[in-house]
Symmetry: C2
Subunit: 437 residues, 2 copies
């Protein structure tokens, strides 16, 4: 993509309304634009990151055997009356009346709706286990939306729902998602750790939040230092026993956010206990028959008797992760994207656009990279060198390649790694090798 044909409205100054770094950098990098309080449009650069994250989340859900569906944004209120949540849910639920005066709502979550789909079609234990997920916009009418897309009102979430005959089956489904989440966050290039989470009236120990560590995180987290050293599981498939042992390993170390942390009960030696801040980006939760019972989602079991199915839900904040990754990965000059989610792989800078030799060298190099499948943002504009460097640092592509009059003469390109800041002068061929990877 040539920058001259792209839409990248970057800002030089910090916008006043942004209190946290991800919000500031997303506005400055031209990733988003506010539409109204807590509601944003995603501009081309931001949209690319959002899609990259969405696709990784999707692939890992598919690999884990979850099936993708798509439930609508607007739901009938009657369904929520069946579960009893229509009256319980507070003002965060956006209630809507249509032209025929029917009560509707903009879904803040989808337990009722997915249970309705299940009960309409699944009648036998033979069709279990089943895990249905979707990636859809949701709405929570926050009283005070803030921090950009981190605490917005309209947000994109992946939510999966598992259906099993009994608790034993539900536990396998839970462990399967636990492991899928470890893989997902590793692919997204972030260090996410699972924390014990509150199970409320449901009880049991099947509830974990996944948080990304970042100094600017919303909550304080406490964990055993060895937790960060654990290897992410890599196999495509695991048996139920293997899943359990991976979950046991990861949950064997102490890890809790401030709301669950109990200094008295925590038996980790002080020298082993790390305290940092974190941002919640995922939550998995076994809730048994909380929705299947009131909504009548049951199947005929192997013994012929009707059994209410045992359910769990598994969320990942897709749009929130865009901000979460920036909070965890930036410096004073801008964003530092992990390669897997970067909006482009390489930023190519033409130091003297309009100079025939520079234009030719850049166009050729751009063509070679593009043909090799590398996604390049080519700054072919007439801006000053300093501005171009600053803009590339701001938008945080993993690699920068710079070609100017001096380099053209000697046949070299300067390649900079955004994360390490390391620069090297390479021949065009060597640069190509490095960037194609």
């Amino acid at each position: 993509m040539r920058l001259s044909q792209f839409f990248l409205p970057t800002l030089k100054e910090d916008p006043k309304e942004a209190q946290i770094v991800s919000h500031r950098l997303m506005l400055r990098a031209g990733m988003i634009q506010q539409s109204s309080a807590g509601i944003y449009s995603w501009l081309p650069l931001g949209h690319r990151v959002l899609k990259n994250i969405e696709n990784i989340v999707r692939e890992e859900q598919n690999r884990a055997g979850a099936l993708e569906i798509l439930m609508p944004t607007l739901q009938p209120a009657d369904l929520w009356r069946e579960s009893g949540r229509y009256d319980d849910y507070g003002k965060e639920m956006l209630r809507i009346t249509d032209r025929h005066d029917r009560d509707m709502l903009y879904g803040p979550t989808n337990e009722e709706q997915v249970t309705d789909i299940f009960r309409s079609h699944v009648k036998s234990y033979k069709n279990l286990p089943l895990n249905l997920y979707h990636i859809q916009w949701k709405f929570r009418d926050e009283v005070r939306p803030r921090f950009g897309i981190m605490r917005g009102r309209e947000f994109l979430m992946k939510d999966a729902y598992s259906f099993d005959l009994d608790y034993e089956g539900a536990k396998i489904a839970y462990n399967n998602m636990f492991v899928a989440y470890l893989k997902t966050f590793a692919r997204l290039g972030v260090k996410a750790i699972p924390l014990r989470a509150d199970t409320g009236p449901i009880g049991g120990d099947l509830s974990h939040e996944f948080i990304v560590l970042a100094d600017t995180g919303e909550s304080e987290v406490f964990y055993h230092k060895d937790l960060l050293g654990l290897e992410t599981p890599t196999q495509a498939e695991y048996s139920p026993e293997q899943l359990q042992s991976i979950v046991d390993e990861w949950t064997g170390y102490y890890a809790a956010a401030d709301d669950m942390h109990d200094a008295e009960a925590c038996d980790v030696a002080e020298s082993d206990l790390i305290t940092r801040r974190g941002i919640e980006v995922g939550h998995i939760f076994h809730f048994g028959d909380k929705y299947s019972k009131p909504l009548g989602a049951s199947v005929a079991g192997p013994d012929g008797k009707e059994a209410v199915v045992s359910m769990g839900s598994y969320g990942i904040g897709v749009s929130r992760l865009v901000g979460g990754i920036i909070e965890a990965s930036h410096d004073e000059n801008g964003i530092i994207w992990p390669a897997s989610v970067a909006p482009f792989d390489v930023g190519l800078i033409n130091l003297k656009s309009g100079d025939e030799a520079c234009d030719t060298a850049c166009t050729e190099f751009y063509g070679k990279l593009t043909n090799a499948g590398v996604d390049v943002l080519y700054d072919d504009t007439s801006g000053r060198a300093g501005e171009k460097f600053a803009k590339m640092d701001l938008i945080g592509l993993p690699w920068q390649a710079t070609i100017g009059p001096r380099g053209v003469k000697s046949g070299v390109v300067e390649v900079k790694n955004r994360a390490s800041g390391e620069k090297q002068e390479l021949s065009l061929d060597d640069a190509l090798k490095l960037l194609v990877g």
Copy 2:
């Protein structure tokens, strides 16, 4: 995908509520489920088709140089007050009040919002031309939603918006989208023809609907018989002059829907005039300064003077196309998907699941197809042969491959082409060659 692990709730009987064939087949094939009037959930099979269509539309928009963004579903009413449409728009607009009593609406379209993005950032003619598009759910509160997703309330649409300095530029943008639409519909495997459409108070001739021909179409269309013989443009890029001559060629033949058809003015010989029915799946429209003027979207021109930009909009009904394609392509046994949008490439039928030889042969064949990148739905269930065949015909995958005890002995697989109905017995190797393509 093994059918035993898939969620495909097919129906044997025609659902009573469905009046048209696409609605009936989508329900019977387990593609969608109604949530409330005119609002549907997309089940795994339907979701796959929806995504395939969405991706083809996206690729052709990107190739045409349009830039993808994503605007939110909920918009502030104030923006629509600026254009004057908030009060003009009837009850089809879903009006919402949030917890702070702010007026909002669920976007039925996005002219105001995209113009707001434009005016916030683009100040010079040097940043033109610009074409921004998004693929987002929209809502129109139809008084009587019907025909399944064909005339639903919550629907997925691609809408692009072009910005140019003057009418001449806007015309190039219009022609560029016209040609992109020809390519898009050809890739989707449907015969779509452009019809002159009403330009209302805007005037001029830059408004075309694209309709898919189907006997069950909502409107009557009249066109010159040679229109269907035109070749779809195939080049990656065209000059403005070439675009104009392609548009001239396609609009040189008479073509109009009943609302625009004038039997008196139509100079086509009776023997050359074809009358059929059609379904609108796209609409492109030049509307000049209709929104840019009231919203103050102007740029500094080459002469330094401020110029209000000239705009056009370009819609494709993505979810509507799922139904439109079915209306145009089905028989008495079910859907016949064009290969490009089919939910799977091949349906593999095991005639005797549980028989060791059959299971082994099927599993091997399934593995080979999958490894070659073919997307297979493998019916490994214990159903009867007749049921399996009927289900495959119903869901309409382009190819069916059947392996049974007799075939296993003689080393053959029966391959059926869903569209032609043609069957052939092939060796496993030859079948593989045919299906891998």
